[in-house]
Structures are given as C-alpha cells and as structure tokens.
C-alpha cells in the first residue's frame, strides 16, 4: 500500500479516530531544499504498548515496532501540497488508526539558521551596526534578529515586522558607541507557518568611537601642610565613547596668563600662586574632545565639611548618608559633594572600614621579638590584612608560657598598636609566645613563636671559667716583659696576626694564616706566650692552626694578636709603661691582667654593651675581684667558647669574636 499524496493542514485536524495523540511531524532543511525525510512522533496514549504492538506511519509506507516516532522518506518533499499523516497501531487483536494530521507540507518545515551572519561596523557611524546574512533556502523566509551588549544576558529583539521581507541585511541603530555587541538570527517560512529555525551562532562587533559626551569628574586634594600645593584628580567621563587618550588642563590664576598642561595620567599637581586657581579640563579620544570640566581651587581650604557622616550596610550594599555643613553660609554655597572611598588594603588613608558580614578573624598575627633581654621581650606583630579581620578588631591578647608553668597573658584594648614589651620574665628561659586577635564575633590565635631570654651574670662566670675570653688586640697597649719569668709555660703555638680592620678575628686569622716563619714585625713585640715568652726580644710566631678555619682553639695552641708598639689605629699607647706579670695561664698576658686596677681604667676603652655586660660593668670592682673577671669589650659581643686548662683563671680581653 502506498500513499504518495499526503494532505496536511497546519491548524485544522480531522479526528477520525483518536487512539494516538499529539501526532506531530517535522521535516528539516537539507541544503537548499527540504529533506524528504519526514519524522513524526506521537503520544502512545494511556495503554502502554506491549511487544506485539506495531505502528505504521502513513506518509509513505514505513513500519516499525514499539516506536513512538517514525521517519519516512518521501522521495521529494511535497512542497505546496496538502498532506495527511496518520499512524496505524496494530497488534494481534486488531488495528486502529491515530488522529490524522492534515496540513500543507510547509507546516512541517524547519529551516536552518540564517547562514553567514555578520555584524559590520561602519566608520563615522558610532551608534549603528549592519547585520548581514545570506539566503540559503528555496522557500521564502522571514527573519528575527536579536542583539545585546557583550557580556549581558538581556537580549533586545528587532520587531519581526521590520524583517518580514525577503532581505539579506539590516541596520541596528541607537547603539552605544565603542561598545561590543552580539547578534543572533533565526528564520521561518515567510507566511509564519512551520517551525522557527534555531538561533544562529553569535556574531560580534564593536561600534566605532564617538567623542565623549560627558565631562570628567574633577576634584582637588590639598597637601596636608601646604595649602599652596594641590593635586588635581579626576575620573574619565562616564560617557567616554572611546578610549581616552589624554587630558588638557588649562590653569588661570587671578588674571595671570593661563598655563596649559597635557596630561596622560589621572592626577596632576599644581602650585597655587595667587588666591585661587581656575581649572578647566577636557578629555579627548580619537573622535573628539569632551565637554569642559571646570573647578575653582582657592588657596585656603574650606574647613567645613559634611556632618554626621554615617554608613550602614544593607543587602550587601554600603550606604552613606550625611548632613550638610552647618551654618547658613555653607547652605548657600554647597551644591556638590564628593564621596571618597578606598579599598583599605591598597590605600593608606585613615578611612572607616565596613564589612557587610562580620565574622571572627580569619587568622591571627605572627609575633616576633625585635629585642630580647634577660627578662624582657620587645614584641611586635604585623596587623592582619583587612580582608582577614572580617570585623572591627577589639583587642589583641598575648599568651606566653615557659616550661610547664602556667600560661600568662596580657590584654590591652588598643587594636591599633602592634607591639608590646613583656617584662618580669625569667632569664635564660625558653618562652612560647603567641598573639590572639579578637573582634566582636570571636578570636583566633596567631602562630606560636619560640623566644629565649638572655643569660644572666652567673652564666658568664661559669662560661668564662671554662671558655676564656680571647683578648682583643685592638684594646691592648705596648708593654715590656718582665725579665723575671718564674715559670716556663708549655709550648704553645702562637701566631702573628697582621693588621686588621676590625673584622672578625676568626676571619682575619684565616687570611693571614699561615704566617711565614721569617716574617717579623719589627715594631712589634710579642705578648709573651709560649716557652720563650719571657724573652724581651721580639720573636715571630706561627700557629699550629695554620689551617685555622675555626675560631675555637685547643688548649695547647693559642692564637693572639701582636701588640703594636706605636699607636695602632689611632690608639695612643698608655703613658704608663705597663709591667706584666707572668701567669700560669697559657693565655696571652695583657695589661689588665697585670694590674687589676687598670681594669676600670681599661674599661674606658670600651663602652657598655648588652645587658649582661652592662650588669657586669655596673657590678664594678668587687664582683670583678671575686670572679677574676675581665670586663668584656664593646657591644654586640658574642663570646665564643674556647677550652682552657682547668684551674686557670680566665682573664682576657675578649676579642671581637672568635679566639
């Protein structure tokens, strides 16, 4: 059975039987024609078909089991012919026909989207774009155009009546200059029957530039302490209509001839020479110049400002309200307000901060010690970023603890200070310190820092007993050896040190090591170390530690600096010829050892240093006598530990560092 001529009517249905419902058919565009394939689908109805149910679509003979859509090949789409379509449902019990579709064949046609859709700008037409496309169907179509600004989700649709005729281009008007637009198109049979095509892919273009339509927002900022220096700031015109290439500023002062400046930034500094300046500014793009923005800048800054400035947050928006400056004269003169705000992490202005949603701080600050002393920590921490504060900080709290002792804390209410000094700490102790930041919503601890208080006086005693200080040659003076040398000291290796410039002696030692054995500083006398230390004649010395890369020496070897006969580095030798007494120590003997009373005298050569050393100074002679302690040298001294035979009384002028 074959039915070639099929009759359709788009809107009128002849319901002969209604066993199948919602029978709909569609034929797609193929090339320039309509595809001969007609696809129909329908609702099978209340009774679900079983495996023995079959459907026959009568458009052209086609048979398919358990389907609710069929496609028939009509050979050639019967354009302009009435077509009737129905479905026969058959099973072992019988057959029944669906509702017939009777319509013109064009009612089933769905065309393809218009092809080659392009959006074309035209020079000198800044508010217009041309839409071009090509016909690609043998049926006459009408079109639908929609467009929007790039990035927007709101489409503007061109009235269909404007694109009903069989055209291939259309001009969009009343657009914004220098703006990206996106266009899409679709089409349908010119009679409006059948199906709309899908929307075409996006076509994008930018309208040309136009001259700016509005003026720049111009304002001035005075220097804090100088009313004659003012910085002009401005924003681009709201309707720039293009890329602003630069700004022209004209300055006129009390009849003085106008200055003209061409600026490419958004600020400019001027000096007010007279009582006030008249500023005129324009912005320009490639298409033209903006209207003039003008500003009067008096020398004296207006003192009155808006009053009762308040802010609030509503629905994620920041609201600011204020009152005009009080006083009748301001009411008459104020006609414009300038609201200034800045993103706090970027700006340095002291402005009010606001958070739409307050929460406890995101993180606490990291604390460090700028200075540590015996019982004191000078602490500082960085203010946590505003974005991490999540609310106004109310205070910081410092927690510190040593050993298993109870944790202590210090509070104060000023969240603007990021430093504090902890006192009454235990000396020579390890502390764990952290800072907690708090706001109204909660608190959060920062990271912990391990800090150590410095060692006290007693440690120095012990240390010097076992680790004697190495004298600093720069603090020694010329002396004569006493010929009465009671004992012969163990052999020691000594070393001459060349002229140094105050660097670490360890390093100096390295540079001069090893000394040549025949080298001899004619004007120097050795300080009397080693077996022949009682010699009055100078001798050269070498060090066992020729490799000498360590500041620490063994008990059997010692490195020291030679005593300069004449003023070394500006130091004048003592007027009093020092007399040295031999000691059992293998350490070089210095003036201070010979005459303890010269200790304090010698102390004039050095200044107080760290707390420990200072304390030792302050303790004075008595403590020295009890400890046989030699005063240490200048500040920032960090004595290194060197071994010493037990029983010896360490008494040395410590060197800068090292030996």
């Amino acid at each position: 059975m074959l039915t070639l001529f099929l009759y359709y009517r788009c809107q009128n249905y002849k319901k002969f039987k209604s066993k199948s419902n919602n029978l709909q058919c569609i034929a797609l565009q193929k090339g320039k024609r309509v595809s001969p394939n007609l696809t129909c689908h329908w609702d099978p109805g209340e009774h679900a078909p079983d495996s023995n149910t079959s459907y026959i679509l009568y458009a052209q003979y086609s048979y398919k089991k358990l389907a609710n859509n069929l496609t028939v090949d009509l050979g050639s789409f019967p354009i302009y012919m009435e077509t009737k379509v129905w479905v026969e449902v058959k099973n072992e019990l019988g057959s029944v026909n669906s509702t017939e579709l009777l319509a013109h064949a064009e009612c089933f046609v769905k065309p393809n989207p218009p092809s080659n859709v392009m959006l074309i700008p035209e020079a000198n037409f800044s508010m217009s774009l041309i839409v071009n496309w090509t016909h690609s169907f043998y049926l006459k179509l009408k079109y639908n155009i929609r467009y929007c600004q790039a990035g927007s989700s709101v489409w503007n649709e061109v009235p269909q009546s404007a694109t009903e005729s069989y055209i291939e281009s259309f001009r969009l008007q009343f657009l914004q200059p220098y703006t990206d637009y996106v266009v899409q198109m679709r089409c349908i049979n010119q009679k409006g029957i059948g199906y709309w095509s899908d929307w075409s892919p996006n076509a994008t273009a930018r309208t040309p530039e136009a001259k700016p339509e509005s003026k720049s927002d111009l304002w001035r900022v005075y220097e804090e302490k100088n009313n004659t220096v003012v910085k002009l700031i401005w924003k681009d015109p709201v309707k720039s209509n293009g890329k602003i290439l630069g700004y022209n500023i004209t300055v006129e002062e009390n009849g003085v001839s106008a200055e003209r400046h061409v600026v490419h930034s958004k600020e400019h500094q001027l000096h007010i020479k007279g009582e006030k300046m008249f500023i005129r500014m324009t912005a320009h793009n490639s298409a033209g110049v903006s209207p003039v923005a003008s500003l009067v800048v008096p020398r004296s800054m207006l003192r009155a400002g808006a009053e009762q400035v308040r802010w609030s947050v509503r629905d994620g928006q920041l609201w600011v309200d204020w009152l005009p400056p009080s006083g009748s004269k301001w009411l008459l003169r104020v006609f414009e307000y300038v609201l200034e705000w800045v993103s706090v992490p970027e700006g340095k202005r002291d402005c009010r901060k606001s958070w739409p949603k307050k929460k406890s701080p995101l993180r606490g600050p990291s604390v460090e010690a700028t200075e540590t002393q015996k019982t004191v920590f000078h602490l500082k921490w960085e203010e946590i970023p505003v974005t991490s504060q999540r609310g106004f900080l109310t205070n910081y709290t410092i927690f510190y603890k040593t050993g298993d002792n109870e944790q202590c804390k210090r509070n104060w209410l000023s969240p603007t200070k990021c430093y504090f000094t902890l006192t009454e700490l235990a000396s020579a102790s390890r502390y764990v310190v952290c800072v907690m930041a708090s706001n109204m919503e909660g608190s959060v601890n920062g990271s912990e820092s391990i800090l150590y208080t410095k060692y006290g006086m007693y440690f120095v005693k012990i240390k010097n007993h076992f680790w004697p200080h190495i004298p600093n040659p720069s603090h020694s003076t010329i002396a004569n050896w006493s010929p009465d040398c009671p004992t012969r000291l163990p052999d020691l290796s000594i070393m001459e040190v060349g002229m140094f410039d105050g660097k670490s002696l360890c390093e100096e030692d390295k540079t001069v090591l090893p000394l040549k054995k025949d080298k001899y500083f004619s004007e120097e006398h050795s300080s009397g170390i080693g077996g022949s230390s009682c010699m009055s004649s100078p001798r050269q010395s070498v060090s066992d530690n020729d490799e000498g890369d360590s500041c620490q020496t063994t008990a059997s070897t010692m490195q020291y600096s030679s005593v300069v006969a004449s003023g070394y580095k500006g130091q004048t030798p003592s007027l009093q010829a020092p007399v040295f007494a031999r000691s059992e120590s293998t350490q070089p003997l210095l003036e201070s050892e010979e005459h303890p009373e010269h200790l304090l005298e010698g102390s004039r050569h050095w200044t107080s240093g760290q707390g420990i050393e200072q304390q030792q100074m302050q303790e004075g002679k008595s403590s020295y006598n009890s400890l046989n302690f030699c005063p240490v040298a200048k500040k920032k001294y960090t004595p290194t530990l060197t071994e010493d035979p037990p029983g010896l009384t360490p008494c040395y002028m410590p060197q800068q560092s090292g030996h």
Binding site: L2, L4, F5, G75, S76, I79, Y80, M81, L102, H104
Partner: protein
C-alpha cells in the same frame, strides 16, 4: 527505450542506479494519478488557486536551476544545445478564449510534457548514471510537475464543475524517433526549456483567475 543510443561504457558499472529508484517513484505516482486515487483534499477554490500559483512559480524556479545543472553536465557546446529547437515534443503555447480554457490547455500541456521529462531522466541515466544531482533533480521535477497537474485539475473542477477534464495522451514518448547522443542532449534541454516556459504561463493564468473564485473559504 525506442532504440535510443546508450552509453555502453556505463552499463558495465551499474550497481544500484538511483535513477531506477526515482523512476519507480515516478511511475507509481503516475499510476496513482492516472487511477484517480489522488484526491483534491483542499476544497477552497481560492486556496487551491493560491497554492497553484506558488507551486507553478516553484516549479519554474526549479526548472531554471535544473537547466543550469543540465548544461553543466553535458560537456562541451552545452549552451548551444538549449538554443536548438525540436519538434518531437508538445509545445508550451496555450490556447483558449477564456482563462479557464487557457488553464485547461496548460493542464493538457503539462500532462503531455511530464512524460518527456521522464524520458530525459532515463536518457541521462543511460548516458551517465552517476550524474548525481541532475538525475535526482529531474525526478523531483516530475514529482512536482505531477503535483502541479493535480492542483490544476482541482482548480478546474472548481471553476468548471461540469466540464470533464481531458485525459492525457497515452505514451506520448512512444512516438519519439530514435536519437543519437547529440540529439538526446538537445532533446533534454528543449524539454526543460518548454517546461519552464509552460509553468511561467501557467502562473500568469492562475493569477488572472484570482477574481474568479466565488467561495470565501
């Protein structure tokens, strides 16, 4: 095929010529048409007239494009083929004193010409079965021509309900003399040219009948 020359080279390479499928459809369409099973579903005279105008214009456009496709497929001297005339086919002129009579003549001419289009399809398929779009376009022309003929008959039934439609001549192409390849090429273009002209004249006559329909539907 009436002793027309064939291209024997292509004969050996035929597998499933599309033309045969198309011809089958055409024959079936002709059969149904001839048996009167095709019905005038659309009852409105004015709507039939409107569709008839559209369909005749459509067939005219399709034929004009088909002529270009045909010429491109004929090789050298193709433009000259379409300038030569042939007498072995119905003319495209209409006769009658009234629009209805002229429309009736258009119906007769169309029904006489369509078998010649089928002949051209057959000949071109014999000459080159892989001509692709030319053969399918020729087949579509036959189908759409049948549709137009049906439309014209429906209109005439409305305009002259008491006048019987003349039956198309039986096997008009059987009277064609044998043709060589050159003659076939000329013949094909001549047929298409006459169909194009006939459909143009038909569209004019249909337009002139717009005021003749008395129904308001």
């Amino acid at each position: 095929m009436n002793g027309h020359a064939r291209n024997m080279l292509w004969q050996a390479h035929r597998t499933q010529p599309t033309a045969m499928v198309l011809l089958t459809l055409i024959l079936l369409a002709m059969n149904e048409f001839g048996n009167g099973t095709a019905q005038c579903i659309e009852k409105s005279c004015s709507k039939n007239l409107h569709k008839g105008i559209k369909l005749s214009k459509f067939v005219k456009r399709a034929t004009a494009e088909l002529i270009k496709t045909y010429q491109a497929a004929q090789g050298n001297f193709a433009e000259q083929f379409c300038t030569m005339s042939m007498d072995s086919m119905p003319s495209s002129t209409l006769w009658g004193s009234s629009p209805a009579e002229r429309l009736q003549s258009a119906y007769i001419r169309l029904t006489e010409l369509l078998p010649h289009v089928t002949m051209v399809l057959q000949q071109q398929s014999d000459l080159n079965p892989y001509l692709g779009s030319l053969l399918s376009d020729l087949a579509r022309l036959v189908i759409h021509g049948r549709h137009l003929a049906l439309r014209l008959s429906c209109i005439l039934q409305k305009l002259q309900p008491n006048v019987a439609l003349p039956e198309p001549a039986v096997g008009p192409t059987a009277l064609l003399p044998p043709q060589n390849i050159f003659q076939q090429k000329v013949y094909g273009c001549a047929v298409l040219t006459r169909v194009q002209k006939l459909t143009l004249l038909t569209a004019r006559e249909l337009k002139s009948l717009r005021g003749q329909c008395t129904d308001k539907t």
